[in-house]
């Protein structure tokens, strides 16, 4: 038995490893995707005044911080029984559109696309955004400009582009002025134009790589996403689960997630493996994120994204292929920019009724302890990578007793693991494994845009991407440095 190790998987957020076990006949016996660290947010949130959670949890992930900020804020709304005013909800949704524009363009242009634009077998030293900057500066500048607009929207609405702060229990701490509205509207419109150009560059790539789309990361699963009456929805609504043919299996509100989702611990990864509880493991495997959302929803209610969605749907139907995450991500990128324009064209976005306040004073810690009562808040949101759930139980004074987080990437963990294994089985025979082939295994993982920092959980110190081949006695036979 030989052990092939790919570490770290690069161009993803956080650190991971792929291992492939090859038997003596040269066939793949097993393969796994490993997530290598735990940071422990679920534990160290305990004891915190729950209103601090929207400030602490964005540090789970510096890429989808806004999603954590808002999931946490929604959970605190529920803990305190406060309903944010309409303007506050729109501002939160706008902040989330900024997040989508930044995160989706970061992933597509900076992390994912180099495999397609430069080719999966291209020089690894050039297969990245720096390489694109050198070989196609116009494309790279377009990517930079698109992402910048996302960060500017988040920064203006959220106070800061990274780890925003303005969502508080019951609403928003600050609104936007009509000057900011006009400026952001013009930028959001610019983003639509930039994304149109990006789509023009990207669409032919999906035809060019149709074979890879078929071959890499095969898995069939259920899918889960938030929808609003069948329409795409990122900020609020119930989660809908469909089977692999597209039939609805469940629909549930945030507070009921424990009836539907369960997580399995596997010895080889710090990241847990969520699955549909009533179906069981592994049959209850489900995926989330762009591919899942476009499978779950029936409509996208903005002009350009809707047209792209129609075309995509005609071609792929209920899409199962992991690499189509990239295509779905671009369509959502367009939706996010168009939705930002819609929100900014609505003058109520500059409203000043921004928060509902507590009607009664909070209990002190001593009073809360004596009362023995508890409160609970569950916030669910569509993060860029999929459904994100923050569940806090607090004492009567609002200090956290227990926190549970179902992060987006976790829900794709099993599919990444299966995808890597099945592809390795099909493609690896014998001891020689080319760089391009190893890169293809990484491309499967990359398609999901995993956010391993998010795995609450996640990141090892990492070693260079080396493939070590051992014999059955554990003797190192060969070391490939990639």
């Amino acid at each position: 038995m030989k052990n092939i190790e790919i570490s770290p998987v690069s161009r993803i957020e956080g650190h991971a490893k792929i291992t492939v076990q090859v038997d003596d006949a040269g066939n793949v016996a097993d393969a796994h995707f490993h997530v290598m660290e735990i940071r422990g947010f679920e534990k160290f949130l305990e004891g915190a005044a729950v209103e601090e959670a929207p400030r602490i949890t964005p540090r789970i992930c510096g890429i989808c911080q806004t999603a954590h900020h808002l999931a946490a804020a929604k959970a605190t709304d529920m803990v305190f029984g406060l309903e944010p005013p309409e303007t506050a909800k729109k501002l939160r949704e706008l902040m989330l559109m900024g997040q989508y524009i930044h995160s989706h363009s970061l992933h597509f242009y900076f992390l994912g696309a180099p495999d397609l634009v430069m080719g999966p077998d291209s020089d690894p030293a050039m297969r990245n955004v720096v390489g694109i900057l050198k070989s196609n500066p116009d494309l790279a500048m377009m990517a930079i400009k698109t992402r910048k607009i996302g960060q500017e929207i988040t920064g203006a609405v959220g106070g800061k582009p990274i780890s925003p702060v303005t969502a508080i229990p019951g609403g928003q701490s600050r609104g936007i002025t009509s000057e900011q509205q006009a400026k952001l509207l013009s930028k959001a419109k610019d983003a639509i134009g930039l994304i149109e150009q990006g789509v023009e560059v990207a669409k032919p790539l999906f035809t060019q790589y149709s074979e890879a789309i078929e071959a890499l990361g095969p898995v069939e699963s259920h899918f889960g996403a938030i929808t609003n009456g069948g329409s795409i929805e990122f900020y609020d609504g119930p989660a809908k689960i469909i089977d692999k043919s597209g039939n609805q299996v469940y629909e549930f509100a945030a507070a009921d997630y424990l009836d539907y989702v369960e997580e399995k611990v596997q010895p080889w990864s710090y990241l847990k493996f969520p699955y549909l509880k009533q179906i069981g493991f592994p049959e209850g495997n489900y995926r989330v994120g762009p591919l899942a959302r476009l499978n779950v929803v029936d409509t996208i209610p903005t002009e350009k994204a809707s047209a792209l969605y129609g075309e995509y749907k005609d071609q792929y139907g209920i899409a199962q292929n992991a690499l189509l995450y990239h295509y779905a991500r671009l369509i959502e990128l367009m939706y996010a920019a168009e939705r930002a324009v819609q929100l900014l064209e609505d003058d109520s976005i500059t409203g000043t009724d921004l928060r509902q306040n507590l009607s009664e004073p909070l209990m002190t810690q001593a009073e809360a302890k004596q009362s023995g009562e508890t409160k609970r808040g569950v916030g669910m949101i569509e993060a860029t990578r999929g459904i994100l759930i923050h569940d806090y139980e607090t004492d009567a004074g609002g200090f956290i007793n227990r926190a549970n987080l179902i992060v987006s990437t976790g829900q794709n963990n099993l599919s990444m693991d299966i995808g890597v294994r099945e592809t390795a089985k099909q493609m690896i025979h014998g001891e020689e494994v080319s760089e391009g082939l190893k890169n293809r295994l990484e491309m499967i993982v990359r398609a999901y845009d995993p956010c391993l920092s998010c795995a609450t959980h996640a990141i090892d110190g990492s070693s260079p991407l080396a493939v070590d081949i051992y014999d059955s006695d554990g003797q190192l036979l060969k070391k490939h440095l990639l």
Partner: protein
């Protein structure tokens, strides 16, 4: 060309995003410097031997984080601890409020959505007993705190460094940049941050809210206080706090509130709440802060 390496230890990757937030200036930077290693952005898997500037973000949480940090030190001329995690342990350091066993048990067994199971123990690296900033293990040539450092700061530091010039960085506290008006007001209650509506334009401390602006290094431009939110201290301790052995974040805040409100310090102390998360949230992992004569960190941390 100057050779730059970026490495992420236990962190959220926000520091790397803040470097990407140079936006168009990224292209300018890349005209003057080569990024030779950065797993988050590129596929070069082997750390090169002759790095000029290595930028390490995140805290040291497990054995592999430590090994990687030491390898970077060996292979680079100038090693920068970038971001509050690398400088002070950062928010990950809050894990020190609990033992490693408590952290893993909450995640993998004592958890409402998780089927109870043994801990991950194959392939995954072992956790260290506590969270460490980078300087606990190796010599650091430059510290750039911030969670994450702001893009302008990155610009003002990286561009001169690449050109072999000394960066000129601000040294004031957040209060120096905050536009809110500080005033003496007589009050006797400290509010939770969710209580009431803070008056715009007026200092949070003057209204009885815990704000760490006066004890936090202010290279952020006071963005949070401008957005209506008290400072959480993500930029790490101010230079005053760092220089004075008896000056701590906790006692600094108490003194300031007592001074503004005329409340006796003892009364302020009684009313402060959730000190681990609200006061020390970003520096619990820091021995510099723990060693302060008046620090409460030793009492909070479970080793």
């Amino acid at each position: 060309m100057v050779k730059i390496a970026l490495e992420t230890l236990a962190s959220c990757s926000g520091c790397e995003i803040s470097i990407l937030d140079l936006h168009e200036d990224l292209a300018t930077l890349l005209n003057q410097a080569d990024i030779v290693y950065a797993p988050v952005l590129m596929d070069v898997k082997e750390v090169p031997d002759d790095i000029d500037i290595a930028i390490v973000s995140g805290s040291v949480r497990n054995v592999e984080n430590k090994e990687r940090l030491e390898e970077l030190r060996e292979k680079s001329k100038y090693l920068i601890a970038y971001g509050t995690c690398a400088c002070y342990g950062g928010i990950t350091g809050m894990a020190d409020l609990y033992t490693s066993e408590e952290v893993t048990s909450r995640t993998y067994s004592d958890n409402p959505s998780t089927v109870s199971a043994p801990l991950p123990n194959e392939v995954v690296p072992e956790l260290l007993s506590i969270v460490h900033p980078a300087a606990d293990f190796t010599r650091i040539d430059g510290f750039i705190p911030g969670c994450p450092p702001k893009e302008q700061l990155t610009h003002d530091i990286l561009i001169p460094l690449v050109n072999d010039e000394a960066p000129d960085v601000p040294k004031k506290s957040v209060c120096a940049d905050c536009q809110r008006e500080m005033e003496h007001v007589e009050f006797d209650t400290i509010h939770r941050r969710i209580e009431g509506t803070p008056e715009p334009g007026k200092c949070f401390l003057s209204q009885g809210y815990v704000c760490l602006g006066s004890v936090t290094l202010g290279r952020c431009g006071g963005l949070c206080t401008e957005a209506g939110i008290p400072c959480h201290g993500c930029g790490g301790p101010s230079l005053d706090v760092l220089r004075e052995p008896s000056h701590d974040i906790y006692n600094g805040v108490i003194k300031r509130i007592a001074h503004l409100s005329k409340m006796p310090e003892k009364d302020v102390e009684k009313q402060l709440y959730d000190i681990g998360h609200v006061i020390y949230g970003f520096v619990i992992g820091s021995t510099t802060m723990e060693d302060k004569q008046v620090s409460l960190i030793p009492q909070l941390v479970k080793k």
